[in-house]
Symmetry: C2
Subunit: 377 residues, 2 copies
């Protein structure tokens, strides 16, 4: 396609991010607990930092145990470099391509990414989520923050935007994920390999998010099925959800409880697969490997391994490049489902695209006093 653009095409890689050092842990947690799109607390301006401060020491300990910080920025940059190299070949009409990391709760932030893009002379930009499956809690929050940041930085008229908001069954992504499962299976003795239970684990969501119509569980289910189809359904498998915190009820079955139950049912060999994560970070390196690894040992599971994260796998960079190239060639502003706000949504910011490349329409906003719980800038 011809975009009539000047300058490079900017690809904004959006993800949660993670603290790179132990000193980053507290600001990271404070930013997370201040996000009213994810967590609604009474007196949030006071209670959010209070909870963040109380949790800091424990979470710092977790980061200490995985080497002192999250590797998610390094992996995202590796993936970004591989992606733009490939894109320059795949889509010469939109070259050169540059990637910009935009984390939600830590630097580099959306504002940092936007300012760097402007400095590089980018006018055509793609907001590219690094969460394969769509949820308002992840991609939705990151996009809303991106548009707010553009306004804060006075760059809301500067770029022409399109959005890649989900890719749960992209063949390249699923092929790469399947390859990690095959690698993970190699960790088991050939004699027991057929007995391995595959535990696909995704980050859970509060049921309140599910009940308002979040697309996430159906899309995670679709990803799992695509991987299992490629494995000819040879293994027993199950989709479970991890990382529940706080007093509200979360979507199950819980990865933790399922590991306990598999132990009780005398299963000896379990391979856990992070189906909704593309890089290693605290949920894979600490929660899955260390916490659940110890739990598995306690309940009698003899061999508990994790399939490696996609991280620096070249096949995954092929997938990322193909997702963007196909999107650019389509000329569309976003996935057709992006315009459909969750039917129970009360956040008027959801599902916007700033200065879209092509006409974009979204489901109407219901204005109600409740909306005021969300930040407008």
């Amino acid at each position: 396609m011809s975009t009539g653009q000047s300058g490079p095409t900017g690809i904004v890689m959006m993800n949660l991010g993670g603290p790179r050092t132990l000193d980053d842990v507290n600001p990271f947690l404070r930013a997370l607990f201040e996000d009213r799109e994810i967590i609604q607390l009474p007196l949030q301006g006071w209670l959010g930092p209070f909870i963040a401060d109380r949790r800091t020491k424990k979470i710092q300990q977790h980061y200490q145990e995985i080497g002192g910080g999250s590797p998610i920025l390094d992996w995202t940059e590796t993936q970004g470099r591989g992606m733009v190299e490939r894109l320059d070949h795949l889509s010469p009409a939109t070259a050169p391509h540059r990637f910009y990391v935009a984390f939600r709760y830590i630097e580099p932030s959306s504002e940092t990414a936007l300012k760097a893009m402007a400095a590089d002379g980018v006018t055509r930009a793609v907001a590219f989520t690094q969460y394969p499956q769509f949820s308002c809690s992840t991609t939705g929050s990151s996009l809303n923050e991106l548009w707010r940041a553009a306004r804060r930085a006075d760059l809301h008229d500067h770029f022409t935007w399109s959005v890649i908001d989900r890719w749960p069954t992209h063949p390249g992504f699923v092929d790469a994920m399947t390859a990690t499962v095959r690698q993970g299976l190699q960790a088991f003795d050939e004699a027991v390999r057929d007995d391995v239970v595959l535990l696909f684990s995704a980050h859970s969501l509060p049921l309140s998010v599910i009940d308002r119509g979040d697309a996430y569980p159906a899309e995670v289910g679709a990803s799992v099925h695509e991987v299992m189809r490629r494995l000819d359904y040879r293994h027993e498998y199950l989709l479970t959800y991890q990382s529940e915190v706080g007093p509200v009820r979360w979507l199950g079955p819980s990865t933790e409880t399922v590991i306990e139950d598999l132990g009780k049912k005398r299963r000896k060999h379990v391979l856990v697969v992070g189906i909704a994560f593309t890089s290693d970070h605290i949920e894979t390196l600490h929660e899955l490997d260390i916490e659940y690894g110890e739990l598995a040992h306690r309940v009698g599971i003899e061999h508990f391994h994790r399939a490696p994260a996609l991280n620096g796998m070249p096949a995954f960079q092929d997938a990322l490049a193909d997702i963007v190239a196909t999107h650019l060639a389509s000329g569309e502003p976003c996935h057709p489902n992006y315009g459909l706000r969750c039917p129970g949504c009360v956040n008027p910011q959801c599902r916007n695209v700033l200065q879209p490349v092509a006409p974009f329409r979204r489901t109407a906003v219901t204005v109600s006093p409740k909306n005021r719980q969300y930040p407008t800038r």
Copy 2:
């Protein structure tokens, strides 16, 4: 494949069933509320019939409004006839094929089906669920009842069995389902067709079932994704769950609530698709068409239609025949995942195969006093 069998191959088509006449409503409800694999009540032998009796009049009224009874037996027989005709051509080595309907809560029961098979000289039998996606509440309960009925009828050594327990992404099934969506879209004016929201609705399950590890939501999600892929994702869509009853918490988002919310968000055109049903019955003809149709009208949705059920569609009979032929050719006793009991399961009967055609192994049973809540005969 050669089965070394004599006589026809019996295909047991398992489904919930429904009352054919108003007089059947009470016995149907009593059987449903007596099924401890689905509903656990205190003093069930007394409270189950009590609740069934209290609900009878209202449910009879519903059946009255859809013509005096459920068409599910007629449709299942139509589907069965089409399936065995095609199977005789597709799989001459296992011909002739005969189908036997086994409903869970009404005649023809499992016992009736088994006795008819024995009378016909069947020795090779396939237990074929008519629920595309696996759940312990549907297929699981039907299979457990089939094995119990075989023991009750002293036919537990009579047949060699294999099991088709799920087919959520079978290409023929998904093609047929997609065709019903295209048909449903024809009910909308061409001018508004692009604005139609597709609401894929599946029967809900209590969260207690989800939390012990039921495969259902992931498989329903996979079915939805396969249909949307065939539609090139051209429409906005959402997966919702219907038919919640009683005081426990069910899996959401609720179809009913989502319809209300879509009205509030000023959506005018909705097509509902029964993604987990293969025939019309009370949940499609009354709940979706009448109850939710009236609700949609009240909340301002101007055009609310339902995609037709698969019912007598020849392409669906092609799919059923292909599913069975592929299964027979594989020589396998069941889907590899059938052996994996829900990690939180306490029912020692789950995931058996009586006299399997080939070696079959399942996840171990944990014996605990809680198991006694389930019937053993």
